[in-house]
Symmetry: C2
Subunit: 376 residues, 2 copies
């Protein structure tokens, strides 16, 4: 067997840390049908160098989908099609920073984003967060000392902590971005995956402000292998993106795939699929929550309202890296908190994902985790 996928979980392990969707949720038939229809049209435009901003019909379909999903009018002219959020972050670093510039990330944050920033030789400053997201006082403190080009934030159903930035803090963050002239790169990948309550208005609603950039992706609502996502931003930002050397040279970032996925959106299949995911993930969140309360004592956490993750604080004396070593013999795995920290903090925290496995595997996994913790 040759390798195809990025992560391969050994079959005897339940990896409660795995943060990718399970392959069983990918709607192969929906995508197959859309591909069949695209090919049957006999038009080869989608095989040509694509328009820099992304296929106009795809952007129109996506705008309509986002208008319903985000509950606010989305404009196809404000959308730029990307090859996923990683590619978007990479391009934004190239165009809006130079080596040695300072940028802010949340402490803790999605651990591979800072690796993209490090590849661009940026100076990464961590800003503290709590159960309501970014702590504005911590941001203000750091703005006295640093002049960041941007802040990278995951404002909803945060990875790893599950927290969501409150409306008041969002307003204040946007004011500060204007006052101190830095960009907000808002990773809103989990905005549409809310299982309880009403999510706050996404940053995509504030792009009349040149400092606000909203990042979206099909990775969690359809399939990551597509490498397809989008940026919503002010016309000035969109203009800088489409006039970059990369886009001028290669054309739009993913014309072939976006032309196929356009069909999945236009048919209403994507909306159906997102609803199906919500109905699939909601009970998984609930069961993990009740199993944690029942079986894992001495932990504190705030249950998430959407997304993928639980963030557990274990007793202070426990070290999650050492615990992960022990967990191997219990055939269970998770992610140590330190992985998400740029300061080596969160030593006693662990990230669990409730979205990857079905209920029975979650139960098995939590029972194995309980057994592993019992000796500590």
């Amino acid at each position: 067997m040759l390798p195809i996928t990025q992560s391969q979980i050994p079959s005897n392990i339940i990896d409660l840390g795995a943060g990718e969707p399970h392959q069983s949720v990918f709607p192969l038939e929906m995508i197959r049908r859309a591909a069949e229809e695209r090919f049957a049209q006999g038009d080869t435009s989608f095989l040509q160098y694509g328009i820099e901003q992304g296929d106009g019909y795809f952007r129109l379909a996506l705008a309509r989908f986002l208008t319903r999903g985000y509950g606010l009018p989305a404009n196809p002219e404000s959308i730029f099609v990307t090859a996923g959020i990683s590619s978007a972050l990479d391009l934004l670093c190239t165009l809006f920073t130079q080596s040695g510039d300072t940028i802010f990330v949340e402490e803790t944050t999605y651990f591979v984003a800072p690796r993209i920033f490090a590849d661009h030789h940026l100076n990464i400053i961590p800003i503290a967060i709590d159960e309501n997201g970014l702590i504005i006082e911590s941001l203000e403190e750091n703005l006295k000392r640093f002049k960041p080009k941007f802040i990278y934030t995951i404002p909803i159903h945060h990875n790893p902590t599950g927290s969501t930035l409150t409306k008041a803090r969002r307003t204040r963050l946007i004011e500060l971005s204007q006052g101190f002239d830095f960009l907000i790169l808002a990773d809103e990948v989990y905005q549409l995956l809310t299982y309880a309550g009403n999510p706050p208005t996404p940053f995509a609603a504030y792009i009349e402000n040149e400092h606000v950039i909203s990042l979206g992706s099909f990775s969690k609502i359809l399939a990551p292998g597509l490498r397809l996502g989008w940026i919503q931003a002010h016309a000035k930002i969109i203009k800088r993106l489409v006039t970059s050397g990369l886009l001028d040279s290669g054309g739009g970032m993913n014309p072939f795939t976006s032309a196929i996925i356009r069909g999945v959106i236009e048919s209403g299949d994507l909306e159906k699929h997102v609803n199906h995911l919500i109905e699939t993930y909601r009970p998984r969140l609930q069961i993990m929550n009740s199993l944690l309360r029942q079986h894992i004592p001495n932990i504190t956490y705030t249950p998430p309202q959407g997304g993928y993750f639980f963030w557990l604080h274990l007793p202070e004396h426990l070290n999650a890296i050492e615990l992960r070593q022990q967990a191997k013999s219990f055939h269970v795995d998770f992610r140590q908190g330190a992985l998400f920290s740029s300061t080596g903090a969160a030593q006693n925290c662990i990230r669990l994902c409730f979205a990857h496995y079905d209920e029975s595997h979650i139960e098995q996994g939590i029972l194995r985790l309980k057994a592993c913790l019992a000796g500590n």
Copy 2:
């Protein structure tokens, strides 16, 4: 009509400058069949985050194809799958340079590559070329004054000049890259599109040397909208690519598309299609050559042996930018040489593409160009 493709030529214009394949050559049916088969397998691996280096089965198929096409053994372990040459150049800039570093390009060169380098805030030094490619003496001269991180070269059927780097110069360039410790980014996109004679051994044959990176793409041999290409390089270079933040975060660059195109390679369709392209483009080159000799006096050029382009030197007193203005009223277009120069040179040169149009359009276009030039 919403925009889908990057370039849209008005229907009353024959644009002899257009450097993209014509949509009529894209093998829609071959790709449709491969997609149908991939979906019919029922395996959703290609929708998951892909392995960083690129799908193992795709790399195996590509290695076998390149082994035949390049006439030398290609190893799947030495291949890294990209989203096209533009994305490859962008990633290489991120990983191997910092803002302010110096790099070398050919004078003249494919005009959008330097725009990618400029976005990375690199200091771009032009190195002269002639009808045998890069002039080694010019390179040596500049190596006395600058310490480049890399040289970007198009060593075969050069864009825009059509020239091919001789074997002796290749050997010398590789020696210099070792002696002066810079990378060679060899854009070999036209290696497989040779219509006369035998092409020199590609740089892909020399990747046991850590300084040599060969860039390939499906844009000219299959379809640019796929955003699919490859890098062949030493294990140390491959390792740096696969451990980058971008790949760690998003997984392989194009798992969905590469899984489909794998079928086009494995069936033998890609090889058939490349042979078909060669048989299609060879007579177009020949007819453009004979029409130029017959109808356009007072020009000098070296006929290309492959690729896409003729590079014409008009009489010294002519300015190609002004000529392009006049050409509008003759319903013909081309590219002025200055577009490919980072020094504002080549004012009296123009680039024509013989690959885009069929023979009758080429004849029409050359006759219009003749009429346009007649007044000058």
